[in-house]
Amino acid sequence: MLNIENIDVNYGAIRALVQVSLEVNEGEIVALIGANGAGKSTTLRSISGLVKPQSGKIIFEGKEIHNFPPHKVVEIGISQVPEGRRVFPLMTVLENLELGAFSRKDRAGIKEDINNIFLRFPRLEERKQQPAGTLSGGEQQMLAIGRALMSRPKLLLMDEPSMGLAPMLVQEIFNIVKEINQTGTTILLVEQNARMALSIANRAYVLETGSLAMSGSAKELAENEEVQKAYLGH
């Protein structure tokens, strides 16, 4: 479904990604793990068109998309839950969700999807007229996830959805990720919480300072000694 082929991304003199290749197949949850500054967010930002790779290709459903502007990437079915939630703080919960559906025109479908999100996250419904900036961290994360679902993506990119949340909420977020996947959305999940990520993913990649260090099935990686030492704290 998604193929990244040898992309390089530089921020000025900083080489954030060097010859990174990865693949996501339809229906999978693929985890991308790595330390701070490894280039995980940069990978997702390149897919979404927020940064342009200096070389290499990004192919989605057979189409080269590395020159697409971000709004075109959303239109072809890729949306992102950005790092740090990034809800629009001065807009209401409802407006945030409506913005997630910006690329769609089917009013009835949008309404239905908002209702579905409220069913899944009742706390958002109670707060639908409240500015998103007044929500708690966990609620903001639910909103960011709901908002990303509003475009009805085929592929959902999630950048550290468990960041800064209490352990109980972390568990809940991972359950939600699994649920979203089970309803037919493919997921590329960036996480620092490698243990959790590997427990729900089918496959995983490990990024180290901008390059791919390892890849394989989630199970393999979870049992790998190096991974255990570096990311699972054994």
């Binding site: 979404s48 971000p70 959303v74 949306s79 950005p82 990034r86 629009f88 807009m91 913005l99 910006f102």
Partner: protein, 298 residues
């Protein structure tokens, strides 16, 4: 005494509502691309001249001229952004600022070349609109029909803007883009289009201000955009740059402040009032009265 107070108040609100119209353009553009559009004052000036030409050369009704000036500057603002700012989007903010100053100098020199250095008169209000009359609202409280027209026109434009920003799809996208540029793009919003809309709306409001100022003061001049532009910018900063209600409030507050300075005999300092306010706001509360401190991520 009371009557004088009221007259100055009405003068101040009329003047201030034109500042507010112009301040909106500064604040909207800054809210989205963090650029102080130094050419905005010249767009206001261009609007004033386009309105004048439409009335005196093409003999259209002043209402048509008013709308024509808005349309002209709408297009002009969009083109300026595409030529002078868009190519610098990924450069430093200083580069875009210098480009804006360049556009500003270019436009006022162009106007100087076309219209000369002397002030040009607007046709008398009684020919293009109605004879100016004073009304007495209550004991000694005078207001002219021209002032009412200027205040009402500005108010209508600002209400339409407020409705647009709050309720329409594009308006919501504009707010989202000003709160978080990258995340707005992740929503499927074409941010380049939103930036064009912002320049279009801001520039047409400045043009409206230009025609109103032309009618109110009766003269226009190639360099009128510099001083009024700086004052409107002050109004935007006073209200909190990036805040739309702030720009409206700041403009009217500045207009009233200026007229009262004149009333208490400080008329030779009237222009200094604005800059005094600018300095005080920047020192004491740089976010302005309505400014928020949401973190900008661009």
């Amino acid at each position: 005494m009371l009557s004088n107070f009221f007259v100055q108040l009405m003068n101040g609100i009329a003047l201030g509502s034109t500042y507010a119209l112009i301040a909106l353009g500064y604040t909207m553009v800054y809210g989205i691309i963090l650029l102080i559009n130094f050419a905005h004052g010249e767009i206001f000036m261009s609007g004033a001249f386009v309105g004048l030409i439409l009335v005196t050369v093409f003999h259209v009704h002043i209402i048509i001229a008013f709308l024509g000036a808005m349309l002209f500057c709408m297009i002009m603002g969009v083109i300026i952004e595409k030529i002078a700012y868009k190519p610098l989007r990924r450069s430093t903010r200083l580069a875009a600022l210098i480009s804006a100053i360049g556009v500003s100098i270019f436009l006022s020199n162009l106007a100087n070349l076309i219209f000369g250095a002397n002030p040009t008169s607007y046709p008398p209000t009684k020919e293009i609109l109605f004879p100016v009359k004073s009304f007495e609202l209550f004991a000694g409280a005078q207001v002219t029909n021209l002032q009412i027209l200027i205040i009402a026109t500005s108010a209508i434009l600002m209400i339409i803007l407020q409705y647009f920003i709050k309720n329409t799809r594009i308006g919501k996208a504009m707010r989202a883009t000003s709160q978080d540029y990258d995340t707005a793009a992740l929503m499927g919003i074409n941010v380049n289009k939103i930036i064009s809309y912002t320049f279009a709306i801001g520039s047409s409001l400045a043009a409206a201000g230009g025609v109103l100022v032309g009618i109110y003061f009766g003269v226009v001049k190639y360099n009128m955009g510099t001083l009024v532009g700086l004052k409107a910018f002050t109004a935007a900063v006073l209200g909190g740059i990036g805040s739309i209600p702030g720009a409206m409030f700041g403009g009217i507050a500045l207009g009233i402040g200026e007229m009262f300075a004149v009333a208490i005999g400080l008329s030779s300092y009237r222009d200094a009032i604005a800059f005094g306010i600018l300095i005080i706001v920047l020192l004491v509360k740089p976010t302005g009265l309505f400014g928020t401190e949401i973190q900008k991520k661009v």
